[in-house]
């Protein structure tokens, strides 16, 4: 069917009942415009649904650290950033779970620092206290960690083996905790660090082209089918 014929028949179907109605009712309601414009009515007055960040509600699946590493990571987070005053500690802020995700997505070098660092820490605990790191007391953990803490400038964490992991992890644990909703929601006292609040830029007209390198393997949604194999009527586009 040619497009124009199709349009004409749609109009005819719409017109028939209207003709009948006009014979029965004196003041018929105006028919809705057909076809109904999909987006008519979406305006600045449309209410915006309220949503939560997923990790405020759902448990994250752990993918990167081994269970043993996760236990070490959790104890390390608790020691380095315990709850203070009304502020949550790293564990309450779900920081170990978040870092499992962040580090698991990161370049190999960063993954390696964490994997080796956590394994080393556990081995040190075994060597010095004959118990895994996750079971160390605060005093024991302090004896193990304190000698490795350094002062350093932005972008230049210590390069010395072990000190690199301890200081990088300390920084990441602090940032992830301070930037959590739990920290934000707790009352602020004095010079306690504040959750970062900044202008967030959404993707600005992102490139949607299928030729883009990282989506080149995805087939286009609509594929042309050879005519001979496809008996359905086609229409000019």
């Amino acid at each position: 069917m040619r497009r124009r014929d199709f349009v004409r028949s749609v109009l005819a179907v719409g017109a028939a009942p209207r003709l009948l109605l006009s014979q029965q009712a004196a003041t018929p309601a105006a028919p809705p415009p057909a076809p109904v414009p999909w987006l008519l009515g979406l305006t600045e007055k449309t209410p915006i649904p309220q949503v939560e960040a997923a990790d405020q509600v759902a448990a994250a699946q752990l993918r990167f650290f081994t269970p043993r590493q996760m236990a070490t990571m959790t104890r390390l987070s608790d020691v380095l950033m315990p709850p203070m005053g009304e502020k949550p500690g790293a564990v309450q802020a779900q920081t170990p779970q978040f870092l499992d995700f962040l580090i698991g997505d990161s370049p190999d070098m960063r993954k390696q620092v964490y994997r080796e660092g956590l394994d080393w820490l556990d081995a040190e605990a075994k060597k010095k206290f004959n118990v895994e790191f996750a079971k160390l007391s605060d005093v024991e953990a302090d004896a193990l960690l304190k000698p490795w803490l350094r002062t350093w400038m932005n972008d230049h964490p210590p390069e010395e083996k072990h000190a690199d992991f301890i200081n990088i992890a300390h920084d990441d644990i602090r940032t992830a905790t301070v930037n959590s909703k739990a920290w934000f929601a707790a009352p602020q006292v004095g010079a306690e660090p504040r959750t970062e609040e900044e202008l967030y830029w959404s993707p600005i007209e992102p490139d949607i082209s299928p030729e883009k390198a990282d989506c080149a393997s995805v087939p286009p949604h609509v594929q042309a089918v050879p005519k001979a194999d496809h008996p359905m009527p086609s229409y000019p586009r």
């Binding site: 997505d105 350093w152 932005n154 940032t175």
Partner: protein
């Protein structure tokens, strides 16, 4: 309008392109501006949010912009994605190429430090024998600097020594705070000048091409602009070999387009302008397109604490000023460790001192941070990188970007000159802090990877000799008189200064020269 030949094609919309558009269109010259990315509208594209509502809790999204140390989870989407427009380098020679393709480019996000180069830079070879002199001096550029400083509303004091020429400033006559006075008192006897910081105020909190330059050009009715136009190559007339426009590809649809123009002005940013020339095989009779890549050493610095600022109820009398210590090495006497020199940015900050400045954790750390709050005295280094032939970029024939355009390979590294300079800077900053009675909390003398400063310059250097330079003293190609490069690519030496004022002034000067030549029908 289709198939119209424009007077001037301007590629790039940042400070360099915006200035060219303003000057040329005000002369009545019809300009077409192409920009590779979209228009950013802060009202639609940005919203203030807490970190837990943005991806990755405010951390930089891994894998997309790993070489943009300035990026974080909030601004991640304004930078060029390294997967979309890759570049390559040898593994042991990383390069941080920091790019913005939004309309207005990096002029939307710069730090606004506004310095002139002096004749210690323009005539550096005459002073110390290394490299080449620029074909112009401070006197040639001074009138343009003054006009640019007026447009950008630069604040500063008329306190510069010869290596920091004074300008057309909104005068900063605020008294120094006491921390800065202490710093000045120990610097002066050592022959180290301390000047008021110089900063572009712009208008309404922004000092960008999009609010200070492009509106003037649009007012003339002579400027046409296209967004999302990724230029593939500059085209040349088949018979004469003269540049006559360009081919570009629409960023979103990949539709291939062409435009014609009598003159081509490159303002795509140092390395994109150079990439375009190399991909177009143009303007390179000297063989120097891509050579002498420079920037500035950033990363080294010292953070000290001002004792009397701690727990001080009258903090604003002690802290809050910032100063620029212009280069002081190799001015009157020669250093045996390195050529040229560095500047120090010093800021007496009133906010928190970051946790990494204390070797402590937990309760003990918080106690330290409470005590040191508002006492941070930051000294950061900006060091000149020498222009060396071997530090260069070339086309990587094996890699293409999302539009099939061959990418850049960056082959550059710092040498002992830069490393020694960084060491000296940190030693000197520590000495000054100690002498002033400040407590040094942390220091670093290792430079960040080249490129980090976002002050990449050179690769199409200007000069009088066509065999030793790509452009002449008017930013015009030695090979084609209707081809100009008006961004940082034209620098002959880098200096220690933030290059923005110089880029703007050079673009203004080149554009006025070009307008004159076009009106006299020489081009």
């Amino acid at each position: 309008m289709l198939n119209e030949t424009y007077d001037v094609l301007i590629i790039g919309s940042g400070h360099a392109g915006g200035m060219a558009a303003k000057i040329l269109s005000e002369y009545g010259i019809r300009c077409l501006m192409l920009n590779a990315g979209p228009v950013a509208d802060v009202a639609h594209d940005a919203e203030k949010k807490p970190a837990f509502e943005v991806p990755y809790r405010g951390f930089r999204p891994p894998g997309r912009i790993d070489h943009v140390f300035q990026s974080n989870g909030f601004n991640a989407n304004v930078w060029v994605d390294e997967r979309e427009v890759p570049y390559t380098f040898e593994e042991n020679q990383p390069y941080n190429w920091v790019r913005v393709r939004l309309f207005g480019g990096r002029s939307l996000f710069w730090s606004r430090q506004s310095f002139r180069l002096s004749d210690y830079e323009f005539k550096a070879k005459s002073h110390d024998g290394f490299g080449e002199d620029w074909p112009i001096s401070h006197a040639d550029l001074a009138p343009y600097y003054s006009r640019v400083e007026g447009i950008f509303r630069v604040t500063g004091a008329m306190d510069g020594p010869p290596q920091l020429p004074n300008g057309n400033f909104i005068l900063d006559d605020a008294p120094w705070t006491s921390a800065l006075r202490r710093f000045i008192d120990v610097a002066k006897p050592r022959g180290i000048p301390v000047c008021k910081q110089r900063s572009a105020q712009g208008r309404d909190g922004l000092a960008s091409s999009v609010n200070l330059l492009l509106p003037d050009a649009e007012k003339t009715g002579k400027l046409t602009s296209i967004a999302n136009a990724v230029v593939r190559e500059i085209t040349v007339d088949k018979n004469t070999g003269i540049p006559n426009g360009c081919n570009f590809v629409d960023r979103l649809t990949h539709r291939e387009m062409s435009v014609k123009a009598r003159v081509v002005v490159l303002a795509a940013g140092t390395l994109e302008s150079t990439r375009l020339l190399l991909n177009s095989n143009l303007a390179n009779s000297s063989g120097l397109v891509g050579r002498y890549l420079m920037d500035q050493v950033y990363g080294p610095g010292v953070l000290a604490s001002v004792p009397e600022a701690r727990r001080n109820a009258n903090l604003n009398a002690v802290m809050g000023s910032s100063s620029i210590v212009p280069r002081f090495r190799n001015i009157d006497k020669k250093s045996d460790k390195f050529l040229r020199g560095y500047a120090l940015n010093t800021t007496a900050a009133t906010g928190a001192v970051a946790a990494r400045n204390f070797a402590a954790y937990g309760v003990e750390l918080q106690r330290k941070m409470d005590e040191y709050y508002g006492s941070g005295f930051h000294m950061t280094v900006m060091g000149e990188v020498l222009g060396r032939y071997e530090n260069h970029v070339r086309i990587d024939k094996d890699r293409k970007d999302a539009w099939g355009i061959p990418v850049l390979h960056v082959d550059t590294k710092y040498t002992d000159n830069e490393f020694n300079m960084a060491k000296d800077a940190v030693e000197t900053a520590c000495e000054l802090a100690d002498a002033a009675g400040f407590e040094v909390l942390s220091k670093n003398d290792k430079p960040n990877p080249p490129g980090y400063s976002i002050h990449e310059v050179g690769t199409c250097r200007m000069g009088n000799d066509p065999k030793k330079s790509v452009l002449n003293k008017f930013s015009q190609s030695h090979d084609h008189k209707n081809l100009f490069v008006v961004d940082g690519a034209q620098f002959t030496s880098a200096g220690w200064q933030n290059p923005t004022m110089t880029i703007l002034s050079l673009s203004m000067r080149a554009s006025e020269y070009l307008a004159g030549e076009m009106l006299r029908q020489n081009i």
